[in-house]
Structure formats: structure tokens, C-alpha cells
Symmetry: C2
Subunit: 232 residues, 2 copies
DNA sequence: CGATCCACTTGACCAAAGTCAAGGCGGGTG
DNA sequence: CACCCGCCTTGACTTTGGTCAAGTGGATCG
């Protein structure tokens, strides 16, 4: 069942009072959707705001040369398209479930009522947008300065269950082909570079990853030592 | 002198009433700064919000491997760092005047008072953040899917004085080395690819650019025809 | 239990962009 | 007017990542 904590996990709603959260619960729609389910389509006006409870959702664009660009992949606690509800022109991207997901969504009209009624929602909205902005900023920086290998290493570190103590093992959150798109490279490049990272204490078996020492990897990333490998 | 219209050019303030704008004027700081002047530095808490009236300002990060990543370049009517005032941790990037600029800035405390006092400022803030988000989304998309040549062509089109009728001529807004950074490539690549674009009806003399037919260029960009050149 | 499908991997090749190094051109200065 | 300095351009070469094509291996289904 949908719990108050599920909603409060989102920056957008984190500042709401218990009372406000309780009022929210009956007006949201909760759905469980299978991998591959389309949520909304590029060019259509956006009429709902989504919050991911579990699973993963991609935001992407299909360019007119046929290739798909993944803008971002959203996971638990993240909201999509709140900006779209505000700028009311057609939304420039499509959304799709990347891994079986539980989603909560709110109707545009209901959300606008909420926004008008509570200054805390407006505040949450600003905070939420600011965080998205920060995330995209990091993304741009990575695309401009890091090699494919480095972007992969950075990604694996973010997947690393927190603590980052020695020898973390975890599963990749979604398909490798999607990871490749997220990181802005071809699946072949991901494959090859993952193999290369073997020399840096990372082993991959199917979609199970083990990082010998996250701290060491982090330092190597920061100092640009990942480039030339020392064939270990 | 600072005019009400200068402020209203910013999305952030565009919805304010005449009375609110008038109240704003005495509390803002106006400055004219020379190219190269640093505005704020990465890692420091951000204490002002900036609005560019004329000229250009870069937002960048110096990575620990020594290279500079330009996140974005802000021009007339654009605001920087409004998100930073909100997320109150240290700001992750530095700012610098890229071309002699006239700037307006507002103190953090004053802006917070404004935000609390007027729901229209909050609304403007959301709209402004949403636009930044949109801009960065486009950026990510371009970096992931377009070649250097295509990114340059797209950039030149955005510089094209609007109308985009046949044979537009204009000056590059800032140094070529900065344009290269903005587009995520080396100055050498920019230089070479600009030369390549000669075959597509673009001529460059020093920093004066002429586009024979923007429409044609736009179509070539959309259909991916810019890649293989037909040696014309 | 084998056939098939799909996601991923691997290999060989190629094109795009980065690197390093030298050279030109203009603008400012003595 | 000659000099120097920065910015930009050009050239030769290297590296990275993309492309095309074939192969592997696990899962599913008959």
C-alpha cells in the first residue's frame, strides 16, 4: 500500500506537514507498471506529474534520424515532469518504464490546486527543480570532460550501496543497453570499457558487479588515472 | 540607467507588477564589469543572484585535472544561481565575466524576503528554473547525439539574428575558445569544423559570420546531412 | 531436450576528435 | 614602424569511440 513515507521521499513533498500528506493520498493515482510501458509521448501536452516509488523510468527523445537519446533515468524518490506542468507548452520528451515500477501520479489540475493552496508545495517544487538542475549540470560536465571509461566508473560508484566500504557487491539497476544510453555511448563501448575496468578492481558477472575498493576507484577517477591502464 | 524593462526581461521577474518592479529597483546592485572579472568561486556559499543585462557570463568548473569545463554561458535577460540561493550548500561552480557586461544582482537576504512576500516571485522562480532545466536538457541531447560539426551549426543558428531569412550576417558573441568550451570541444576542432562548414553556405571572417541560407542549414542539421560533406 | 531468441560480447575496421607542435595574423606598445 | 603577445589556424599523428558483423551464452518455449 501507498504510505506517507513513499510520498515524503520525494523532495517535492518532503516539506509537507502530516496533514498535507494525508490530504494528498486520496487524490494521487498509484499504478504498478511493467517494463516497457509507455507513460507519455513527446510533443503531447503533459497532464500528470509522476513520482517513482520503486523501479526505473526513462525520459528520452527519438531524434528524426531514428536514434533514441536518453535524457535521464529516474529512480525511487524522484519526480518527473513537474516543470512540464508549469511551462504549459508541449513536452519535448517521452517517458517509459525501464524496469517494472510502482508509480504515483497526480493530475495536472489537482497539482495546480495544491500549488495554489500551499506555499510549501511551491517551495518543494523549487527545491525539486533545483535538484534536477544540479543533476543535469553534473551530467553535462561528465559528458564534456570524462572518457567513456571514466563515466562508467562514476556510474558504478553511484550504484554502489552507500557506505562504500571495501568490496561492495551489487546488481546493475537496469539493462546494460540502457546504461550505455544513459552514459552517452554505444553498448559495445560499455561492454569493452567494463572489461577494461577489470584492471581497476572491478569484476562483472552478468549483471552482478563487485568493486574491490570504492575509495581507490574514486581517487583514480578524480586524478584521471583511469585512462592508461597498468595491465593488471 | 537601470530600467524596469531590464528587470522584466528576466523570466524570474517577468510576471511582477509595475509596483513590484519599482520596489525592486532600489534594492538591486548594478555593476558594469570588464571581461575576465570573477564573480564567485566554486565551493563558496552563494550570496547573490545575478541577472545579465548586457554582455556574457560563464558558469564553469575547474576539474582537479586542471581543465576548465564550461557548464553554460549566460546572456542578456538570463539569471544565474537562483537555484543556489535556495539549496543552501556550497555552490559547485564558478562564475566569470566572459565579455564586458552590465549585471544586476540581488542580495540573498533581500531575495528571500521578496520570495516570501510575493507569490509571483515564487512563480517566476519556478518558471525560470524550468527554463534552465529545458536548456540543459537540450545541451545533454546535443552532446550525446550530435557531432562537433552539427553542434557548431546548431550554435550558429541560435546566434543568427532572428528572422532567419536568407543571408544573415552577425558577429560571434564571444571568443572562439569559449565557444569551443561551451560546445564541448577543443579550439582546434572548432576551427577545423568551422572551415568544413564553408561547403554548407557558411563563411567566417575573423569573428564575422555569414550564413547563406539559415533555413537550408536548419534542414541539413535535422536530417543529419551535415556529416558527409559534398566538397562544394 | 533441443530450437530459438535476445542481450550482450568480441573482433576488425574506420571515422571523428584530441594532442602536440609550428606558423600566421592583428592589435597593442614602445 | 617594428616588435611582441595572444588568439586562432594548420598540419601530422594518436587515441577514442563508432560501425558492422559474427559469435556466445542464458533463458524460454515447444
Amino acid at each position: 500500500m501507498l504510505a506517507a513515507d513513499d510520498l515524503r521521499a520525494a523532495t517535492l513533498f518532503s516539506r509537507l506537514s502530516d496533514r498535507e500528506i494525508d490530504a494528498l493520498i486520496p487524490i494521487v493515482r498509484e499504478q504498478t507498471l511493467a517494463k516497457g510501458t509507455p507513460l507519455f509521448h513527446e510533443g503531447e501536452p503533459m497532464d500528470r506529474l509522476y513520482l517513482v516509488i520503486s523501479g526505473w523510468v526513462t525520459l528520452f527523445r527519438d531524434t528524426n534520424t531514428g536514434q533514441r537519446v536518453v535524457i535521464r533515468v529516474f529512480g525511487p524518490g524522484e519526480t518527473l515532469a513537474e516543470a512540464a506542468l508549469f511551462l504549459d507548452s508541449a513536452f519535448p520528451a517521452s517517458g517509459e518504464v525501464a524496469e517494472d515500477a510502482r508509480l504515483v501520479s497526480i493530475d495536472r489540475a489537482a497539482f495546480e490546486r495544491l500549488l495554489a493552496a500551499s506555499p510549501r508545495v511551491a517551495t518543494g517544487m523549487i527545491a525539486s527543480l533545483a535538484m534536477h538542475l544540479r543533476a543535469l549540470t553534473v551530467e553535462v560536465e561528465q559528458l564534456k570532460t570524462r572518457t567513456a571509461t571514466e563515466r562508467i566508473a562514476a556510474f558504478l560508484l553511484t550504484c554502489c550501496p552507500n557506505g562504500r566500504k571495501a568490496r561492495s557487491t551489487f546488481e546493475l539497476p537496469y539493462d546494460k543497453s540502457l546504461i550505455a544510453q544513459r552514459l552517452g555511448m554505444q553498448p559495445e563501448s560499455l561492454s569493452r570499457n567494463l572489461a577494461k575496468l577489470g584492471c581497476h578492481g572491478i569484476s562483472i558477472d552478468r549483471n552482478r558487479v563487485t568493486i574491490d575498493d570504492p575509495k581507490v576507484l574514486e581517487n583514480a577517477l578524480g586524478s584521471g588515472t583511469l585512462g592508461r591502464l597498468s595491465s593488471g
